[in-house]
Symmetry: C2
Subunit: 169 residues, 2 copies
DNA sequence: GCCGTGGGTCTGTTCACTGAACCCAAACGC
DNA sequence: GCGTTTGGGTTCAGTGAACAGACCCACGGC
């Protein structure tokens, strides 16, 4: 995107959008929250050109949203996983999911507090425990079968805890 | 943006980003929440090329985020104001503001519940009343002087209720 | 009539997104 | 050993969006 910055805007919103406002970036963060960690899995699940994915992951590493670690099972490969700053983007993703669910198309997933199983409300809080759990304390499961059929989509059909790594295909 | 859609993504997040994921769009919605309604005011406050602003406003009207009404004071001009779907983007804006505040730069504004004056917490709820007020029930005021000096920025230096129209320059 | 202003549209340049091709190192089949 | 596949990229040309600036038209003031 030409000029991804918003120089003149003295505003925290503009600063946040400079990091996550580019095309694909929030979808990558969403997948990372779902537990995707391998380059190939992102690519398979997002249908994103490799050059763009590579650039976005580098940018997210530079911006401190994601850490790049060597993959212990495969020399020369990497695992990308969210930093605390990345995990703290969950409220952003969740509020967009809620809005899209209400005004565009029904959601395909439900999110519930891992501690008690209660579905989260629109503000991301557990109505039972009165807390706003972070992603590592949330279970998600699909509401319906989606149209995708890649290895990541297949793993995500089973209920699982957010941030839990998706198994290798 | 070439291909603003995310066809293969069967997900409410992708649908939401198809509406508000383009450059400038969320900043326009932010200004609309602050009470900006005139084409010229958006342009002055955002430093956005007129062609882009025109395109974005048309897109937002098409997507049902904004209504275009004739300006009763100036024949031939329009006022853009948020629909309910647009006002419901407030949680998205707020969560991005909170994230940008924490990880990028300190916020320049504070938001408080109009009913009781209590500042909102990070989830957008009023800790005193235990409700999540909509934008028409929120007061905002600047925390510090910003670097901008256009007519809209000057009006926004005074505390005011969100969605209240900014006065004509 | 003339000028200034609001709200655009048009134009040419720059630059990001895209798919396809290419590359290299490691793992695998035999 | 050797050829092939796979992962994780980089490079390339084509396309279309973003941008600044020029232009345009309707209205109001004088």
């Amino acid at each position: 995107m030409l000029g991804k910055d918003y120089e003149g805007q003295d505003c925290a919103l503009a600063r946040a959008l400079e990091v996550v406002g580019e095309r694909w970036t929030l979808l990558i963060v969403r997948d990372a929250l779902y537990g995707v960690r391998r380059f190939n899995d992102f690519q398979a699940h997002l249908d994103i050109p490799k050059a763009i994915l590579s650039g976005r992951l580098n940018g997210l590493v530079d911006d401190g949203i994601v850490d790049r670690l060597p993959d212990p099972d495969h020399r020369g490969r990497h695992l990308y996983h969210l930093t605390q700053a990345g995990k703290d983007l969950w409220p952003v993703i969740h509020s967009l999911l809620v809005w899209g669910d209400r005004y565009r198309e029904g959601s395909c997933r439900v999110f519930q507090h891992a501690g008690c199983g209660t579905p989260l409300d629109d503000r991301g809080t557990c109505p039972h425990c009165k807390v706003a759990p972070g992603p590592d304390d949330i279970l998600t499961k699909p509401l319906r079968r989606t149209s995708r059929d890649d290895p990541v989509a297949r793993s995500l059909r089973r209920p699982h805890r957010m941030l839990d790594p998706v198994p290798e295909a």
